[in-house]
Symmetry: C2
Subunit: 224 residues, 2 copies
DNA sequence: ACAACGCTTCGGCTATCATCGAAGCATGAA
DNA sequence: TTCATGCTTCGATGATAGCCGAAGCGTTGT
């Protein structure tokens, strides 16, 4: 059963660490979960057998990543259920407020700023959202081309939707996923508006001062 | 952790039994999971504490149901991951082929016929589907009003989308969820085209002979 | 009032599985 | 070749948690 794989705390920590979309080595994951490499090896084998993660050999390292954005989606859904039961992640620490503000959800922006961005885009009619479904409008395409140099053909992907509503576990509202969400996040990084936290395994996204201003100019509360 | 709750086989069986959307008593769930009432009571308490199920007292019975369609969604997602890993449900039996053909996924039609229905609706432009997102077209509204006496205002719901793509674990393709999926299934039942299997806890949907013909007339392969 | 029924709580048994030490097997470096 | 590093396999230990029998509590029915 897949759920029992996610159920174990050590494995859950590993998967959470992989939610930032990066591939991590076996030993990094071991440290992340607070267990010895031997134990980690066993867990990783099971997760791989369950199809949740994929290995990639590179020299004498083995990098693991989540097999699929779908896996990340289910994981996020699970986290959502856990959040509403009050079982907030025990993993408390100083980075918690930062996590709430801006973090990576697999490959796109989540947290307060992620929710705020989608809110603003919806208010400015850059996207249309009917309940769970999101669609990019022509105004939205113009906006993206003008302000973020993103053209529609950059968003095409054989098996992934352009827009997707992703439930945010801290805000309990939607943020933007899909190829658009991923591309926008990538652009923010390129523009040096924001950068993923340096500490390995962290999902925190730190905005620079100018980045914060630019982001607010595009998606600030004024548009709400 | 929520995932560990779903991870236990006994609890997983209980939850699977509740996926048909009906509420079941504690003893029914115990029998469904193949355990004694004492053990079941413990499990049900944990599931309730985890916010996955909700009790409802009624005389000397306690009925349990899934708290939310969201829970069903996450469960279905988990089943999808399990399916693609080849970990098909061990729960084999004579009802398996019937399950593959037509079953209830929380409150809407799933299985071969469910997938076929969405395929046909897409081909006839009753809905537009962009990757994961489904939208009802005006032709679709006309079709529903004419053939199934379903008007758009019957589909409005504060917190649930009209259309939603739900990944089918047996077909590994999408079928139609959301209020439309639920309403259509309800109409099929009212029209006596189909009925849920009588055996308690079964997700199988049995089509009558005339129901099968009527269904095929609307959503048959001819439209594909 | 009494009995039957549905469910829960308690206590003890058992098995599964996570965990780690030690050893083995690769790959890369000296 | 020789050593170091990263990871895996093996074996043994220990703790968590599922499980059931017995008993208790509340509700329904006679």
């Amino acid at each position: 059963m897949v759920a029992s794989l996610v159920g174990d705390p050590a494995r859950a920590n590993m998967l959470t660490a992989l939610m930032n979309g990066r591939a991590l080595t076996a030993s990094e994951l071991a440290q992340e979960a607070g267990i010895t490499p031997q134990t980690a090896s066993s867990h990783l084998g099971k997760l791989e057998a369950g199809g949740l993660i994929e290995p990639e050999k590179q020299g004498r390292h083995r990098y693991y990543r989540l097999t699929d954005p779908d896996v990340a989606g289910v994981l996020e859904g699970l986290a959502g259920l856990a959040a509403r039961a009050g079982h907030m992640r025990v993993r408390t620490g100083p980075k918690d407020p930062a996590l709430r503000r801006a973090r990576i959800c697999y490959d796109h922006l989540a947290g307060d700023l992620g929710v705020q961005m989608l809110d603003s885009m919806r208010a400015r009619r850059l996207v249309r959202q009917k309940k769970q479904d999101i669609e990019l409008t022509t105004e939205g395409e113009r906006f993206l081309a003008k302000h973020l140099q993103i053209s529609p053909d950059m968003l095409a992907h054989p098996r992934r939707p352009v827009c997707k509503a992703c439930l945010d576990w801290s805000e309990r509202r939607h943020h933007l996923a899909g190829t658009l969400g991923a591309t926008m996040m990538a652009r923010f990084t390129e523009l040096k508006w924001a950068a993923r936290d340096a500490t390995p395994g962290s999902r925190v996204v730190n905005f620079t001062r100018t980045g914060e201003k630019s982001f607010a100019a595009l998606f600030g509360n004024g548009g709400d």
